[in-house]
Subunit: 245 residues, 4 copies
C-alpha cells in the first residue's frame, strides 16, 4: 500500500562553519527534502553533502530557493520585483540541479523558502514569476506551495504539477492562511497536538482554525520543520502513522 501523504522537510540549512538542523537523523522519516540553494542558507559544499545524504536515503530532492539574505535567513520580506523573483529562482534551481545530476539523481520539486514562500502565496505577480521560473527550468518539476494559495493555483493553471502543503505545527486562520508568527497562538509545539492536527489535515482534509471554525484544506504534502525541539519525534510519529502500512 502506498503512503497516504508526502512528508517533506527543509534541509541543508547549514552554512560555512555553522550547523543547523538534524538532517541525517530525519532522513529515514521523510519522503522529500527541500534543499537550500545558497541565498538564505546552504553553501555549495553543504548543498553537495545534503544531496548525497538524500540520495543515500532514497529521498526525493527539491530545490528550496530563498531571498538573497544570509543574515536574515531569508525570512525578512523584501520588496522584490517579479523579474527579480524569476531570476533568483531560476538561478538557484539551476545550481542545485547541476549538483543533483552530477551525483546521478533527478530534481523532483521546488519549494520556495520563508519570505519568498510567503510572498508567492500572497502576491499573484510573484507567484506567476516563480512558477514561470520553475517551468522554464524544467516543466516536469512539481511546485510545492501553501495549500489553497495563489502560489499553487497559478502554477497549476500554467500546467505545472503542484502539491498543496499543510503544516501540523502552525495554526490556521478561518480564511485558510497560516496564523502569523506574531500571534500568540501561531505555533503548535506539543507533538500530540501536532499529530491531532495532522490527522485532521491528512485524513479528513480539514482543520479547526484559531477562531474555532472548521475549514477545508487540501493536503498533498505535510511539512516537518527540522529545527523544532520535537522535530525528530514528530517526524517518526507522522511517518509511522501515515507513511507506512
Amino acid at each position: 500500500m502506498n503512503a497516504l501523504v508526502d512528508i517533506n522537510c527543509d534541509m541543508g540549512e547549514s552554512f560555512g562553519a555553522w550547523a543547523l538542523g538534524n538532517d541525517e537523523a530525519l532522513m529515514p522519516w521523510i519522503h522529500s527534502a527541500n534543499i537550500a540553494c545558497g541565498f538564505h542558507a546552504g553553501d555549495p559544499g553543504v548543498m553537495a553533502r545534503t544531496v548525497s545524504l538524500a540520495l543515500k536515503h532514497g529521498i526525493q530532492i527539491g530545490a528550496h530557493p530563498g531571498l538573497p539574505d544570509i543574515q536574515g535567513f531569508g525570512r525578512r520580506e523584501m520588496s522584490i520585483s517579479p523579474q527579480e523573483a524569476y531570476d533568483m529562482t531560476l538561478y538557484q534551481i539551476g545550481a542545485l540541479d547541476a549538483i543533483v545530476r552530477a551525483k546521478g539523481g533527478i530534481l523532483q520539486h521546488v519549494k520556495p523558502h520563508g519570505a519568498l514562500y510567503n510572498l508567492s502565496a500572497r502576491q499573484a505577480e510573484i507567484a506567476k514569476a516563480l512558477a514561470q521560473a520553475v517551468c522554464d527550468a524544467d516543466p516536469s518539476l512539481i511546485l510545492y506551495g501553501l495549500s489553497g494559495s495563489i502560489s499553487v493555483k497559478i502554477a497549476a493553471e500554467m500546467g505545472l504539477a503542484v502539491k498543496h502543503e499543510v503544516f501540523a505545527d502552525r495554526t490556521y486562520q478561518s480564511n485558510g492562511a497560516l496564523t502569523p508568527r506574531s500571534h500568540p497562538k501561531a505555533l503548535i509545539s506539543h507533538p500530540e497536538e501536532m499529530m491531532a492536527q495532522a490527522e485532521d489535515l491528512l485524513l479528513r482534509q480539514q482543520v479547526c482554525s484559531v477562531d474555532g471554525e472548521w475549514i477545508v484544506v487540501r493536503a498533498d504534502t505535510i511539512c516537518v520543520h527540522g529545527d523544532g525541539p520535537h522535530a525528530l519525534q514528530f517526524a517518526k510519529m507522522l511517518y509511522e502513522r501515515f507513511a507506512l502500512a
Copy 2:
C-alpha cells in the same frame, strides 16, 4: 573560410546598481562570451540580460565561475580546498546553464575567472577539481584555460575538450606563464603592440617573452579584456584581421 581563432571576452560583470564593461558594443566583435555567475560579479538579473544579449548576437556562451568574493571581484587568491573549488564551480555552471537553457540556448564552455583561473593554472589539485566539476556538469563542455598550463593539460587528460587561451594585452615570461601584474612590464596597453603580439600568437604560435626569448605558445582562443580603455578598438582590429576573410 573559417575564422582563424576564437575571440573570447569576459562579460556580465556588472552587479546590482553597478555597471561594468561595454558588453553590447563588444558583442559584434567576439565569438565567445564568458559570463560571470554571481560569485565575483553578475547577479541573476545581470546574468539573464547578458545571456539574452549573447543569444541575440549569436555568440557562444560560457560560464565564468569565480571565487566567492564580490568585494574583491574574485581577484584575491584564497586558500580554498579542491573540494571547495569543485563545489563552487559546479554550482555556478548549473546556475548559468539553467538561465541559458531557459532562453533556448546551449552552454558551450567554462572559463574560470581571476584568482580561480590562476589557481587552476598553477595548482594541480585545483585544476583537477575544476575539470571534474566541468565534466560532471556536462562532459561536452569545453574548458578554456591558460595556454600550456596544467589547467588545460589535466582537463584534456580527463577527456574534456579544451582551448588554450592567449593574451595580447599581457606579456609572457620565458617559462610560458604570464608576467605578474605587479611587474612594470606586465601589461601591453597600446593597440598596435597588442596587434603585433596577437599576430605572433595566432599566426606563428609563438611570443617574445619579457626576457627577450621566443617561446612556443598554443593559441586556440584569444582573450579581449572588456574593461580596458582600448578594448573596443582592439576587438574590432582583431576581429577584422583574424575572424573575417
Copy 3:
C-alpha cells in the same frame, strides 16, 4: 554672508571593482557628504578614500547607513525589526566614525539611505530606533531626514539636532510625501525645472505638489543626487545661486 542652505550629496557609493558617482567633481559644489558605510555600497577602502576627499575639500561628513543589501543597493524595503534597525545603524556609524577620526576629522551627521530612509520616514518604531542609535553613537550628531516626516520629528523630540531635507529632482504629493518613483511624474530631470523647485523650496519654503496644490515645506538641507545625468550642472547652479554671495 552665510550660505542660505546646506547642499548634501550621497557619496562613496562605489564598491570593490565598481565605480559609481562623480564624487571628486561634485565636492566643490556641496557642503555635506553622506558617505555609504558598507551595507548597501562602500567597502572599507572606498569609505577611506571618500573621507579623505571630503576632508581635502573641507566638506562636512555624515554617515549614510543602509540596509544589508549590496545586490539591491539598499533600495529594496525589507521587513526589519526596530532592534535590527538600531543595531545596523549604530554599527555603520561606528565604522565610518573610526575612519573619520583616524584621519583627524569629525563626523557631523547621519542620513539613512534608500529603503532605510523611507522606512524611517514612515514607520515610527523604525524612526525611533534609528534616532536612538544616532543618539547612542554621539548625541551631538545631526540627523538628516525627509522634511516634515516622523523621522525628523521623533529625532527632535529625543533631543537630536535635525535637518529637514528637500529634493529638487523629485515631485511632492499634497500630503508632503515624495511622489513614489513608480509614478510617471515622480522625477524632475531638467536642470531648469529643478532650479525652479529649489527656489520655491529654499527661498519660500513651499512647493507645488503634483496635484497642483501649494504646500509648506521646511528646507534645512537640499539633496543633490550624484548619479543623475545633470548632477554636476545642477550642483553648480545650486551652489552659485544659494551657497555663495
Copy 4:
C-alpha cells in the same frame, strides 16, 4: 593577589539564524572576550548581545576583526594588500567600539581572527598595517598576537601595548610557530594534556615542541577556544588553577 594570566576567548561568533559557541557558560571563567565584528561572523545584533553579556560579567572587551569571508569563517587566507588589511581592521574596530560605548563600556584590545591573525603573524607589511589601524583607532588599545611573532613585535615598536598569546590546545614547532592544522599532531584535545602545556607556558614560559625541543615562549594571555568539546571544562580548570588564589 592578582591573576597570573589573562584568559581570553573568541566570542560572538554566531550569525543570523546560526548559533555557535557557548558564550554565556564560558563568561565566568575568562577575563577577556574577543568579539567578532561582522566580517567572518557576528552580525550587528549578535555583537550587541555579546557586548551586553561581557559587560554583565565584567569581562574586558576586545574587537576580533576578520577577513571578509562569512562562508569561510575568516579561516581561508586571502591575498589582501596592506591597505586592505588596514581599512578592514579600522572599520571593524570602529563598528564594535560604537556598540561598546553605547552600552557604557570601553574597548580594551584587538585580536585579529583566523587567517588575518596568521597573516599578521607572518607578513610584516600586514602586521604593520594592522597595528597602524589599531593605533589610529585608539592608541591605548592593546594588541593581542601570536607570542613571539612579528605581529606583536611590530605593534610594540609602534608604541602599542601588546599581549603575547599562547595556546594550550595547539602544539608548537621548534621555531615557535604553531604546528599547522594539517599536521597530525597539531591539536591537543585532552584537557589534562592542555593543562600540562598551560602550566609549562604560564608558570615556566616554555613549551616542548612537536620535535621534542624545549623552547622559550612569552605568555601574557592564553586562548580558550570556545567551540572545542572540552572548552568549558578546560576553561574552568584553567581559571581555578591560574586566575584565582
